[in-house]
């Protein structure tokens, strides 16, 4: 900060050398601890992980560690379970993001205008967000369990199920278990973000519009939506990446089963590393996932450029 130059009426005095060095290094001193931590705990393991993808690294085998080139990737190309996990990732991410967003937007709109008890209602509906994800997973797994949970009995009572069974052990339906848990857990995030954006819309715009005779639907389409659009775009983008990596609920609720029907790529990586202790193969899968996510992000950036240049 060059505050010395601000003394009015006096000629600017050049501070002594030591002082200038101290000033120049200040921002780096402030950021160094955080930077060192990020580099050693995230960047170094990331690079190491990339190298594992080309090596035979197995935790329990002391003779492993040799360079094997593209061996893992050749195995990966024929790994049926991996391709199933890719398809499951699309399904899991798409359904979760879409439903979280829809219900989150409705909730944000409901909470936008002041009403009696809004603060309390807001605290209650946002509560699932504070529930640790592993507990959300366990909680829903129990709700779906016909022994202690009510959900199978309800589904049976309204005729959707022929008998109260656990959907988590039904290969056709199992994915809905983690998805429902994820929706429950993720609605507050979207609602909080969208509500914040809603509250930032100038109120007089709505007044002006209704004086001009615009109905509620028209006001929503021509004021609310355009104002929300940037927030919606960025939250959906970030959330898509985040949810496609979010394995906690699946690891807790189904462990990827039955018969890999709920295995997503992220939980597949974790299973390879944690259960089979095959760090090399896990890192190869992780590298593919990283490449796919980068491609996705790049695609979005290009799409955005194209949309901007089209206008």
């Amino acid at each position: 900060m060059e505050y010395t130059l601000r003394r009015k009426g006096l000629p600017a005095i050049r501070p002594p050398l030591m002082k200038r060095i101290a000033d120049a290094s200040a921002p780096y001193l402030y950021t160094a601890p955080a930077l060192i931590l990020i580099v050693t705990v995230m960047l170094v393991p990331l690079v190491l992980g990339v190298s594992y993808a080309f090596r035979d690294v197995q935790l329990l085998n002391p003779f492993s560690g040799a360079f094997i080139g593209l061996g893992h990737f050749r195995a990966l190309a024929e790994d049926e379970a991996f391709f199933r996990s890719l398809r499951n990732t699309l399904w899991w991410t798409g359904a979760s993001v879409l439903l979280q967003f829809t219900f989150g937007l409705i909730l944000a709109l409901l909470l936008d205008k002041p009403f009696r008890g809004r603060a309390l209602a807001q605290a209650l509906v946002f509560l699932p967000w504070a529930v640790p994800s592993f507990l959300a997973g366990l909680n829903w797994a129990w709700l779906f369990n016909p022994v202690v949970g009510p959900v199978p009995h309800w589904l049976y009572a309204i005729g959707i199920m022929s008998q109260p069974a656990n959907i988590l052990s039904d290969p056709q339906l199992a994915m809905w278990g983690p998805i429902v848990a994820n929706i429950w857990w993720g609605i507050p995030f979207f609602a909080i973000t969208l509500l914040a954006a809603l509250q930032a819309i100038p109120r007089d715009l709505y007044e002006a519009a209704s004086i001009d005779g615009a109905g509620p639907v028209q006001r929503f389409l021509s004021i609310t939506l355009p104002f929300l659009a940037p927030t919606i775009a960025i939250t959906i983008l970030l959330r898509t990446v985040w949810i496609s990596n979010f394995a906690d609920l699946i690891v807790v609720m189904t462990g990827g089963g039955p018969a890999d029907r709920t295995q997503i790529v992220a939980s597949y990586i974790f299973t390879q590393a944690f259960k089979r202790l095959d760090f090399g193969y896990a890192s190869a899968v992780a590298l593919v996932l990283l490449a796919l996510l980068l491609a996705y992000s790049l695609l979005i950036v290009i799409l955005r450029q194209w949309l901007i240049s089209k206008d």
């Binding site: 955080a34 640790p132 507990l135 829903w140 129990w142 974790f270 996510l293």
Partner: protein
């Protein structure tokens, strides 16, 4: 004309109620099973409240299981992580807010990137790095890992709070002869107390919830955090639902307390950021 607003109001309140019911029902059920005595659990399967409630499961969990140890471990890990991250993020967030310096762009890019890539990628390499240093199966190891994961987001959060404080304040102090660091510590930090509280809350909750790295890095009950302990408990004694849910209710307490403390600032803080941005 009067009937329509009334109908809209009723529909609005009903919709809110539906959301509240959906949000609270799972937690309510957790509590319900936790207080249901074992002999009633199966006979009164889907009743909304047992005919006789008891705290026997909580009693068992607190006195005859390893859960108090898990609870303590999680408190240590989450508390330490929250403090470490908040200190580091205050420093780096202040630098991002107040200084222009070469490398700032790269620092921000690096921090944004860490938010994008799948952390599960790091499970294996981090295990390999920490293991020879004796930091696997150790709470210190977890604190280091969680701190690194949470510093980037916390930095941006703190930066947004610092951005909301006028620069004149510390400039005035510095003209009076204070160094910038003293001005930062004695004038700016006290003004960002709400921001510090929010950051502490966010990081504490995140560390309290983390499962995958804890599963990978911790083995055995001595050092297990709550998620790890609860999961191993579930796979070992998968029949005793009452005890598991009692443990679940206990795991919920600190997270909910923190949430209730910060939820008031949640939308406010984000709104301030949105108006500026």
């Amino acid at each position: 004309m009067r009937a329509k607003p009334l109908l809209v109001t009723i529909a609005h309140r009903l919709a809110i109620l539906a959301y509240i019911a959906f949000a609270l029902f799972p937690l309510f059920w957790l509590l319900k099973v936790a207080v249901t005595p074992n002999d009633l659990l199966y006979s009164e399967g889907i009743r909304l409240w047992p005919s006789r409630a008891s705290l026997e499961h909580f009693d068992f969990v607190l006195r005859h299981s390893a859960f108090p140890v898990f609870f303590r471990n999680s408190l240590i890990v989450s508390g330490s992580t929250a403090v470490v991250v908040t200190v580091l993020a205050s420093l780096s967030g202040y630098a991002l807010s107040r200084f222009r310096f070469r490398g700032k762009y790269w620092l921000v890019t690096l921090m944004l990137l860490t938010q994008m890539f799948p952390l599960v990628m790091l499970v294996a390499p981090i295990f390999k790095i920490l293991s020879p240093m004796g930091l696997t199966n150790s709470l210190t190891g977890l604190v280091i890992v969680y701190s690194a994961f949470n510093v980037p987001f916390a930095t941006f959060l703190m930066q947004s709070f610092f951005d909301g404080i006028p620069r004149d304040l510390e400039e005035a102090a510095m003209i009076d002869g204070a160094t910038q660091f003293v001005a930062f510590r004695q004038i700016i930090l006290p003004l960002t107390l709400p921001g510090i509280a929010a950051t502490l809350g966010f990081v504490f909750t995140a560390a309290w919830s983390e499962l995958l790295f804890a599963l990978m890095l911790i083995s055995g009950n001595e050092q297990a955090t709550f998620p790890v302990g609860l999961l191993s408990f579930v796979s070992k004694f998968s029949v005793d639902f009452g005890q598991m849910m009692a443990a679940g209710v206990l795991a919920l307490i600190p997270a909910c307390l923190f949430f209730l403390l910060i939820q008031r600032y949640l939308v406010q803080g984000l709104t301030a950021g949105a108006v500026k941005g």
